[in-house]
């Protein structure tokens, strides 16, 4: 078993339990142990962009310091938002000396941090550290005839200096799908923002986007859509049921975390907690009759 230090973030303990459970399960299958960071706090969700207020960077940086103090040199995330915030905060410390000094002098309980840690997303782990072969080898139920749209959203690929793929033409999720035996479909809204936190005070705007993105994926032939962001998942999945109320002709599209799709292909669909999804993917995934066969 290979241990990797893992930062879950709040969503994975709350609305995205299936994300974590599936990730843990598929990792296990690949002889990887997701070792949860001992004491973690909120990553801060959104990265703060103001130049003069470093307070807002303390949350994420504190997580990084703890990981370092635990003896890790890499910290892995599943949630795109956490990944983004942690990576950017880390970069800030690394690259902006003035700000780093201020932050360090402010956090006098902790020892100084200079950005030594590497924050990595689980997808990067699969692609670079483990290799797709390792994934492919564990596939028991290849996703034959399943058309999968990969939705990257904003946080995986932007900004450029921390993005894990080409911001205009990302492929990493598509490669994963291929390795699971599925068919990746191209669709034009792969990186279009779902509306993010505006879902709180401007639901209308998010509904519009949800429709654009899910209907766009459908139109491109997708059976399901995968993501790695719990906020995107909420907007695209839960908000789709809201959308159905105002647009009854909308044809719903199941939205999965990419690890859930892995779990299906590995033959463990049950860990996915699909019951918590607003749009049930089981039918599309032809799982309804297979419940009994689940390993």
């Amino acid at each position: 078993m290979r241990d990797i230090t893992y930062y879950p973030g709040c969503s994975l303990k709350d609305t995205a339990k299936g994300f974590e459970a599936s990730a843990v399960k598929v990792s296990e299958e690949m002889n990887v142990n997701l070792k949860e960071l001992d004491r973690w706090n909120c990553c801060g969700t959104v990265y703060s962009l103001t130049d003069d207020n470093l307070m807002k960077q303390l949350g994420p940086i504190r997580n990084l310091i703890r990981a370092r103090d635990e003896g890790s040199d890499k910290l892995y995330t599943l949630c795109s938002m956490c990944d983004n915030t942690l990576k950017r905060a880390n970069l800030l410390v690394r690259e902006e000396e003035d700000k780093r000094d201020k932050i360090n002098s402010f956090m006098d309980q902790e020892s100084d941090y200079e950005g030594s840690l590497e924050v990595r997303h689980y997808l990067e782990f699969l692609q670079d550290d483990l290799g797709w072969g390792e994934v492919r080898d564990r596939v028991e139920e290849p996703l034959e005839d399943l058309n999968v749209a990969s939705y990257y959203g904003c946080m995986l690929t932007r900004p450029k200096d921390i993005g894990l793929d080409d911001p205009h033409n990302p492929t990493i999720l598509g490669e994963l799908v291929e390795n699971l035996g599925g068919t990746p479909v191209d669709f034009p809204y792969e990186s279009e923002c779902c509306g993010s936190y505006n879902t709180v005070d401007n639901k209308e705007m998010v509904l519009n986007k949800t429709q654009t993105i899910t209907a766009g994926a459908r139109k491109s032939g997708a059976d399901v859509l995968i993501t790695s962001c719990p906020l995107c998942h909420f907007n695209l999945d839960s908000r789709q049921s809201d959308l159905l109320e105002v647009a009854p002709n909308h044809k719903p599209l199941p939205v999965l975390y990419f690890t859930q799709l892995m779990a299906v292909a590995f033959g463990y669909p049950k860990v996915n907690k699909f019951d918590e999804h607003a749009i049930d993917p089981k039918e599309v995934l032809k799982l309804e009759n297979k419940v009994g066969s689940e390993r």
Binding site: G44, T50, D52, M81, N198, T199, F234
Partner: protein, 127 residues
């Protein structure tokens, strides 16, 4: 608008808060072209920047910075490497620091909303 007596402090503030050179924008419009939410905005993102260049205080009344979801489409597109979301944030901050919160947590319908949505929303829209 009266350019002679324009709000030059606004320009300076935005530059300070965002860390960006507002004058480096040459108004190509690519940020607006790629923005997924222009339909929801009253003025275009590039117009926001132009108004800041001009010291046009009316920019503080615009919806655009609040509609911006910091999705960073513009940030990766900008040919001058400007961090447009940071400029938007700076404009939001100017209001927020005057205790002009955009949302009131007490009035929000929070039921069923995930933490991630709530926390990020409040971080962007309250002081």
């Amino acid at each position: 608008m009266d350019l002679t007596n324009s709000d030059r402090e606004l320009t300076a503030n935005v530059e300070e808060l965002s860390g960006e050179n507002i004058f480096s924008c040459y108004q190509c419009g690519k940020c607006s072209a790629g923005c997924p939410f222009t339909e929801e905005m009253d003025i275009l993102p590039n117009q926001v920047i132009k108004k800041v260049q001009m010291g046009d205080g009316s920019v503080l009344d615009s919806d655009t910075p609040w509609t911006c979801a910091s999705c960073l489409s513009c940030e990766v597109d900008c040919p001058k490497g400007n961090d447009v979301p940071a400029i938007m944030e700076a404009i939001r901050e100017i209001s927020l620091r005057k205790n002009l919160d955009r949302v009131d947590i007490n009035k929000l319908e929070t039921k069923g909303l995930p933490e991630i949505a709530l926390v990020s929303n409040l971080r962007k829209k309250t002081g």
